[in-house]
Amino acid sequence: MTAAVDIRDFVVAYETGGGAVFALDGIDLAIGAGETLGIVGESGSGKSTLGMAIGRLLAPNARIDAGDILVAGCSVTTSDDETVRRLRRERLGFVFQNPMSALDPTMRIGRQVALAMEGTPDTAAVERLLVRAGLDEPGRVARSFPHELSGGMAQRVVIALAIARNPQILIADEPTASLDASIRDRILDLLFAMRAETGASLVILSHDLRMIVHRCERVIVMYGGRIVEMGESQAVFGSPAHPYTRALIRAAAGNEAPGEQLDPIPGVPPVLRAPSADCAFAPRCAHAAERCRRERPAERAVGGSRVACHFAEEIMAASGTAREVAE
């Protein structure tokens, strides 16, 4: 499997008024061609920063301290602007969280779609693309302004923009978070259908572990700017080894009995002032021991997954199989 995206020991910090805040703290990740990869984690875990970094779209106050990202063998961090521009145009497609802000309010949909396509497409080509994105009345949609569309239609347009040049990598940052619950599944169906059609790799960033596991081949759990668990989604969800993954599954709605309370994770995600020298999850972890506050856990194979926790084996053994955790 050749890697479409190769991320090596990537460290990103944001310069803020109160000093640097680390968003990514050493990420190593290879995304295979045609792979579907889900990235889950709380707000502030660094997943959006990771997604934006792949297209060199970080905010101006972001600072890359170490590492590199290769997209199709081409360095995103060191290449000149023109190379990166071509890379974005030809290889990357982004689907944003809020379709209403991802569309230019002053421009008709047809023109925006035409701008995203190659060359100067005619009306028929624009409408064909809109039909591919599941829009029934492409003519009317093309003539509309974004505010005249519903959220679901607007997100279909955003997906059309993302696939306009048949990208090799599609990155969707919480693509359904701002949509009505009733159309979320249909938008996800469309996204995965488009992925299958174009053969692109699809990276979905989400809070929704259940959805990710259901739809993606592989899943990454992020915490405090690090990957804490990574593996085949059935393995990660079926037998989670990292305490944070277990906590995330317990905190999610969906498998509780009526009347039963959800189990939120105590505390708040950390604000990293420096690359962490210990386990970032230790302050909120029920299993934390002295070693967790002293030594940064390395990523290693546990079960079928790769886990960054000193006590992954013990925790798995002690709490039995994962089904119990999930149920």
């Binding site: 991802a102 421009m107 993302a162 040049r165």
Partner: protein, 284 residues
């Protein structure tokens, strides 16, 4: 299309009668200023056409000045000159200010610092002091007036456009355009410009009224248009000499200038209200 536009214009003014007043007043003054020399008002430069410092009469509706020239055609000429100089200066301001403001707001970093600091320096410089300098360097006249007006109105324009650009550039559609491979120029001209245009147009109306005041002030000091051409400011200066014996010489250009500035501001407020999405929603 035209019918739709005029219907929207009609609705816009029906909701805002002060804006309508401003628009009508401005239109009348503009027509007077542009087509004034086609009207049968008499020659503004004919010396001795009437008595010196004559009071308003049927033959000379606004009286005559110290050289016996009919004052009405001179005031009309002054409207035209003041509007023309201000308009040229404001167009220069709008083009330069919009480009620099967008560049500062979108490009960040060194470009932003450089443009913002230049704007700050210009902002701190009194317009009249700069007018004296410009008049000394390029000589008093229309060109000096335009240069001074533009340099005085550009800094605020840059600031307004820059701040609006900063907030627009944060929105995802700009990132989406960048992802689809748009160049910096295309992002700025195709995506940012239409989204900041509303703010720029409002700022343009205020810049225009400020320009007219500055132009009048420069001409009042003799740094703007030179005789025998008249602007509202140079007429005011002449009139101020004879304030006690011929007050109409100050009143006519003074009232016209006040009316022009008021009409522009009323129209500017109306446009601002019309473009404000929160308009009509009371905050209780």
């Amino acid at each position: 299309m035209i019918a739709l536009a005029s219907a929207r214009l009609g609705r816009f003014f029906r909701r805002d009668s002060l804006g309508l007043l401003g628009a009508v007043l401005l239109l009348v003054l503009l027509i007077l200023g542009i087509f004034g020399d086609l009207l049968p008002l008499g020659d503004p430069n004919a010396i001795g056409a009437g008595p010196r410092l004559g009071a308003p009469s049927l033959a000379f509706p606004l009286g005559t000045d110290d050289l016996g020239r009919s004052y009405l055609p001179r005031v009309v000429e002054g409207i035209g000159v003041t509007f023309l100089l201000s308009a040229i200066a404001v167009i220069i301001t709008a083009v330069i200010g919009t480009l620099l403001g967008m560049a500062a707001g979108y490009l960040h970093g060194a470009t932003d610092h450089l443009i913002a600091r230049i704007a700050d320096i210009l902002f701190a410089f009194p317009a009249l002091l700069f007018g004296l300098l410009a008049a000394a360097v390029i000589g008093p006249g229309s060109i000096a007036a335009i240069v001074v007006i533009s340099t005085a109105t550009i800094p605020l324009f840059i600031r307004v456009v820059r701040s609006v650009t900063l907030s627009v550039a944060e929105r995802e559609f700009v990132v989406a355009a960048v992802v689809s491979g748009a160049s910096t120029w295309r992002v700025m001209l195709v995506h940012l410009l239409p989204n900041i245009l509303g703010a720029a147009i409002i700022q343009l109306t205020y810049a225009l009224s400020v320009s007219m005041i500055i132009e009048s002030a420069l001409s009042f000091l003799g740094l703007g248009v030179q005789p025998p051409a008249a602007s509202l400011g140079s007429l005011l200066r002449l009139g101020s000499v004879y304030l006690t014996i011929a007050p109409w010489l100050v009143l006519a250009p003074g009232l016209v200038l006040a009316a022009a500035i008021m009409s522009i501001n009323l129209l500017g407020d109306a446009i601002r209200d019309a473009l404000d999405p929160l308009r009509g929603r009371s905050l209780k």
